[in-house]
Symmetry: C2
Subunit: 388 residues, 2 copies
C-alpha cells in the first residue's frame, strides 16, 4: 500500500491556533493551559511515545494572540525545536520540587500580568495530566488567575477534521481493512486466541500501520460475551464467533473498527444478529448528514436493533468521534445533541445482546463530506463471513 | 521461548490490599480512591486496552478493611467479574451528567458515613484520570470528607515487586534481549529508520511480546542527537550510530532498555562513549545494593560519565523503577534519597553528550535480590557492536 507523508505543514497549526483563539475570545478566555498528549500534539505537532512515561509533565500555553508556547522537560527540547513553535522553555526534569511550575508562573505573569482567565479542559472525556498538588501550587502562586473550563474550545476544534487529518485516518482505515480482508489466512480453528491477536497485529504492521495500540475482542461458541478483554490461550473452535476490534495508528491518527467471523459455521441467531447490526449501520450512515443530531443517528440505529433485541443498551452509545484518539467527541447517544457537520469523522458502532447474554458488536468508520457520510473502512459484508 | 502463565492468584491481590491498608492506617487514611490504569489493575487485576479510550472514568475504592470495590462503566462489568473483586458497582457510561459520581457518593456515605480522609495520589509522577469538574462535584457532595495525598502509599507498595511480578518483567526482558541479539539480521545500511523500527517491533512480537507500546530511538552520522523521536524515512548509512530503546510488555509488565549499534564502522569517539556508559552501568550495578540510596547509585554513575563528559546532566536522572509502567518510582537522581530494598526492579540509564552535541544513552534492567543487583536484560557488550 502506498504510504502517505508524515507530519503537517505549519499552516495546519496556524489555523488550529487562530481557530482556538477565536473560540477563546467568545468565551473570555485569555489563554489555554494544556497538559495531555493529544492536546500538546494538536497545537505543536510534538509527536513522541515518550508520554508512556508518567514521570514528567508537559505543558502547552496558548495565548490569545500569537503562537503557542511550550513549557517542557529539557529531554524534549530537541524534538520540540523541529516543530513550528519558537518559544520553547525547558527545565531539567524530573524535579519534584519544581516540575515546570515556576516557569508557568513567570509565563502567566509576563503574558497576562498575572490576571485573567486561563482555560483548561475540565469537562466530559477530559483529564489533567499533572500532579494535583502541582496544580494547587500553581493556583496559589497565581491568586488573580481564574482557572476555568475550556472543554468546549478543544471539543469544537477537534470534532472537525482538516483534509490532511482525514487523509491520515483514511490511510489507516485502508491498512486495517486490508488486514481484515486477509482473515481467511490469519485465523483458523485450533489457533489460541492470543495467537490470533498476535497474527493480526503482525499483519497490520506489515501492511503499513505504525502501531496497533488497541486490539481487543472475543470468541465463544455461538457468540462472545465480552468485548474489551485481552485474549486468552483458549483455542478457536468450530462454531465460535470471533470478533477483533482494532485501533491501529498512522502518524498519530487512529482507525477504530471491528469485524466478526464465524469459525467453520454460524448458527442462525448469530447470522441474524450480524444482519441486524449491518442494517443498523446502514440506517446510521443514512441518518449521518450535516444538520442531523447525534441523538437522531443513535435513534435511527436503535430502531433497527430493537427488531431483534429489546434489552436496554448498557454500553451508553452507538458510535463516537475518531482521530488523534481512539475515541473522541461527540457520542452517538441519547444524551448528545451535537449537530453533525462537514468533515466530522465518526464511528458507527451498533451492538446487541442475543442468545442468553452473548454480545455482538459491529463498527465502521465514516467521514461526513459533501452532505453525506462516506465509509472509510471497507464496508463489512452483510452476511456474517465464515472462515472455512 | 517458553511462555509464562498470565495473571496472578487472588493471594497476590489480597497481599497488595492488606499492605496498602497497613500503610493507610499509619497515615490516618480511611480509604483510597484510584482512577488510573495501573492503579486499578494493581488492586483488581483488571487488564484491558480499553483505557485507550478517554471517554469513561473508572474507579477503585480501597476501604481500610476488606476487598477493594470497583465503581466502573457497565461495559467493563463482565471482565471485572473475572477478577477477585466481589463488590462491583456499574453505571451505563458515558453519562455526562453523572459519570459514576452518585455511585461514589453513596459508597463513601455507606462506608465512612460521609466523614473521614480519602487518599488520592496527588504527588510527583501521578495524575488523576477523571474530569476536574467531576472531582469538584464529588468534593462538594462530600463536604465532610478530606481528600488528601496518598502518593506515598502507592509509591511504597509498587516500588517493591513480588516474585510473580519479577518473573513477568524477567520474561519480557528476555524477549527484548533475544530480539536485540538478532540485530545483524534486522538492521542494514540503506534501511529507512521507519523500517528498522517496524522490523524490530515485528521481531519482538514474534519472539513473544504481547505488545511494544514504547519504541523510540535515533540514528545519525557518528551519533544521534535526540532520544525520544519517532523514526523518519531517512535511511541508515555507513558510519551511523543507531539506538533503539524499547518498552515491550508481557501480561502488562514492561522492560525498558536500549542498545546502540554502529552501522558498518564506528569512530573512536563513539567507541569511547559506549565504553564509558558501559562502565558507568557497571558502577551503578555495584552500587545498587539494599541500604544504598538512589542518589548514591546516581553519583557512582556520574563519576564515570565525568571522565568523558563534564557538561551538566539535563535529563534529570540516570535510571528509574520499572514494572506496570515504563517508568516508575524511584529515580536514580541527585534529588532522590529513597533507600534501595530487596525486590526493587530498576533501570540503569547513563547518558552523555559528546562530539558537538551528539548524545549516547545506554540502559539495562536489574533486580535487587539477595543483597545485590542482577541484570534482567542480557548485558550489552562493552564494545560498541558493529553491524557489517
Amino acid at each position: 500500500m502506498k504510504t502517505l507523508e508524515y507530519g503537517f505543514p505549519d499552516s495546519e497549526f496556524e489555523l488550529r491556533t487562530t481557530r482556538a483563539q477565536t473560540l477563546m475570545a467568545k468565551l473570555g478566555i485569555d489563554a489555554l493551559l494544556l497538559t495531555t498528549e493529544p492536546e500538546v500534539r494538536y497545537f505543536s505537532g510534538f509527536h513522541t511515545l515518550f508520554w508512556q512515561s508518567p514521570t514528567r509533565p508537559w505543558f502547552i500555553y496558548v495565548p490569545n494572540i500569537g503562537k503557542p508556547i511550550a513549557v517542557i522537560p529539557e529531554i524534549g527540547a530537541e524534538l520540540m525545536r523541529t516543530t513550528w513553535l519558537s518559544d520553547i522553555r525547558t527545565w531539567s526534569a524530573p524535579n519534584p520540587t519544581d516540575d515546570g511550575i515556576s516557569l508557568l508562573v513567570d509565563l502567566v505573569k509576563s503574558n497576562l500580568g498575572g490576571k485573567g482567565n486561563i482555560g483548561l479542559p475540565m469537562g466530559h472525556e477530559t483529564h489533567m495530566r499533572m500532579p494535583l498538588l502541582d496544580f494547587s501550587e500553581l493556583k496559589a502562586k497565581l491568586p488573580e488567575i481564574n482557572f476555568t473550563d475550556a472543554t468546549s474550545v478543544i471539543r469544537e476544534l477537534r470534532m472537525i477534521k482538516s483534509e490532511l487529518e482525514i487523509q491520515k485516518i483514511t490511510h489507516i482505515c485502508q491498512i486495517a481493512s486490508k488486514t481484515f480482508a486477509q482473515a481467511d489466512e490469519l485465523f483458523f480453528a485450533g489457533q489460541p486466541l492470543q495467537e490470533s491477536f498476535r497474527t493480526f497485529k503482525l499483519a497490520c504492521l506489515s501492511n503499513g500501520a505504525d502501531d496497533v495500540p488497541y486490539l481487543v475482542g472475543g470468541a465463544g461458541a455461538g457468540g462472545y460475551r465480552d468485548v474489551i478483554s485481552p485474549p486468552t490461550s483458549t483455542p478457536l473452535e468450530v462454531g465460535d464467533i470471533l470478533m477483533l476490534d482494532t485501533g491501529a495508528v498512522f502518524d498519530g491518527y487512529y482507525c477504530d473498527f471491528d469485524r466478526n467471523f464465524a469459525i467453520g459455521f454460524a448458527n442462525d441467531e448469530a447470522k441474524i444478529a450480524h444482519d441486524v447490526l449491518w442494517r443498523a449501520t446502514e440506517a446510521g450512515q443514512k441518518a449521518m448528514i450535516p444538520g442531523a443530531t447525534c441523538r437522531e443517528v443513535y435513534e435511527s440505529m436503535q430502531k433497527v436493533i430493537r427488531e431483534f433485541d429489546s434489552s436496554p443498551n448498557d454500553v451508553g452509545r452507538l458510535g463516537h468521534g475518531l482521530g488523534m484518539q481512539l475515541t473522541e467527541w461527540p457520542s452517538l447517544a441519547a444524551f448528545d445533541d451535537t449537530v453533525l457537520q462537514e468533515n466530522m469523522v465518526m464511528t458507527l458502532e451498533p451492538s446487541l445482546s442475543y442468545a442468553d447474554g452473548r454480545l455482538m458488536v459491529h463498527e465502521e468508520n465514516l467521514v461526513i463530506k459533501d452532505g453525506r457520510a462516506h465509509y472509510l473502512s471497507s464496508r463489512a459484508s452483510q452476511e456474517l463471513p465464515i472462515i472455512k
